[in-house]
Symmetry: C2
């Protein structure tokens, strides 16, 4: 290899999490909406939940800590999907100012390891969020974010789109404990960004042994009440 | 998020490349076999080709530079597959000593972004290697490597195994310009680590529009001479 002498350069390393959830109607992403440090400064104040890596933390551990803490989910489904390290990530001085205020250190370049987490939006997670500066945003209404976080979310959405075809069972991590065929389809439609034929979709999905029909039907609806299903993770072949 | 004050910690960031090739018989991985810095020191002297990230480099750019330089391949197929960042990566003092000598800086923790590259082993790449401290090792005979590089290679091999089923065309990046059905099958068998039924495999693969039979046959062989095929990348649907 070539000579590395004099190459004294260490970027910061962070972990950022794209946490996706579904409230029964909309596919949503969890975003940190403010920093409680130096609120008098103006900066891009919406970003992905994440932080710098800590001294004794492994990457997976950091991501798990971040998502568990924010979403109140004990063992959230997550995996690392890509590292982002372009020198342009910190091109916007507002972003840098924010982070320098929050961390009390000089920020140059940051390489971030991005994780994707698919979780269920429950009452428990909602109440946990109320004490934290994070909010669910519909993926169709994501504002301009700090750093390259819009780009990271786009990459995460492409990853989920791919996963929804390769390992559709992962998508069911986001559905409520019981759900209708319509809810399933709407979630897949939002992930795949296309309309799906209702009959074909139902046929395909309901053929899976891990989708179990319940003897429960919607109540209090004006249309014909729909049957509920549940997802049985232990019936998914490894 | 929690308070990040006083958290003054920056790991080093490196890029390491798992370059896989096929010489017509064996699946091989490219390893750096020595450092020309401080040869009098004893250390684990086989590792993945890689180096610390440079000041103005993007991650993909660094990986591309490393592989192009070592393998003489201009546009090698490659993609980032995972970041490895466990604090245990630098648990072995020999590994740290090597890197400290090579880089002339204190090494604490290193987060590495790992890339997978699939290339053809050609005469050109062989001659490029002769001037560089890298060598092809059969994946079945990989020695104890520095850092967690054995683990990184294992993860890369699992990734290729997955890819060989999802996007088999990528595997053909490794085959010579013309190849026999037997060579194809042996490569897939080494990647998937199982025997494949010769007839079924031939049927499946030869049904692909991007595998084109040539009017050329093996010469100088004692067994019945086999037909050659070529891979036509532009016939692969995007």
């Amino acid at each position: 290899m070539d000579n590395l002498k004099g190459l004294n350069f260490d970027p910061h390393v962070s972990v950022d999490c794209v946490v996706l959830g579904y409230d029964g109607q909309q596919l949503k992403v969890l975003l940190a909406t403010k920093s409680d440090e130096a609120p008098e400064l103006e900066y891009n104040n919406v970003k992905l939940p994440g932080r710098l890596l800590r001294v004794n933390e492994d990457l997976d551990e950091a991501a798990n800590n971040i998502v568990s803490q924010l979403a109140g989910a004990r063992h959230p489904y997550m995996h690392q999907f890509r590292a982002f390290g372009s020198p342009n990530r910190t091109a916007n001085p507002k972003d840098v100012l924010w982070l320098e205020n929050a961390t009390k250190q000089k920020i140059g370049r940051i390489v971030t390891i991005a994780y994707l987490s698919l979780i269920r939006i429950t009452n428990r997670t909602k109440s946990a969020f109320n004490d934290s500066p994070v909010e669910w945003f519909p993926v169709s209404e994501i504002p301009q974010l700090a750093f390259d976080h819009n780009e990271i979310i786009d990459a995460a959405l492409r990853e989920v789109q791919r996963l929804s075809q390769m390992r559709p069972q992962l998508v069911f991590e986001m559905l409520p404990p019981r759900f209708t065929a319509l809810q399933m389809r709407h979630l897949f439609e939002q992930i795949q960004r296309r309309e799906l034929d209702a009959r074909n979709f139902a046929k395909l999905v309901l053929s899976k042994p891990w989708i179990v029909p319940l003897d429960e039907w919607e109540t209090g609806v004006s249309h014909r009440s729909a049957r509920y299903y549940k997802f049985q993770a232990n019936k998914v072949k490894k």
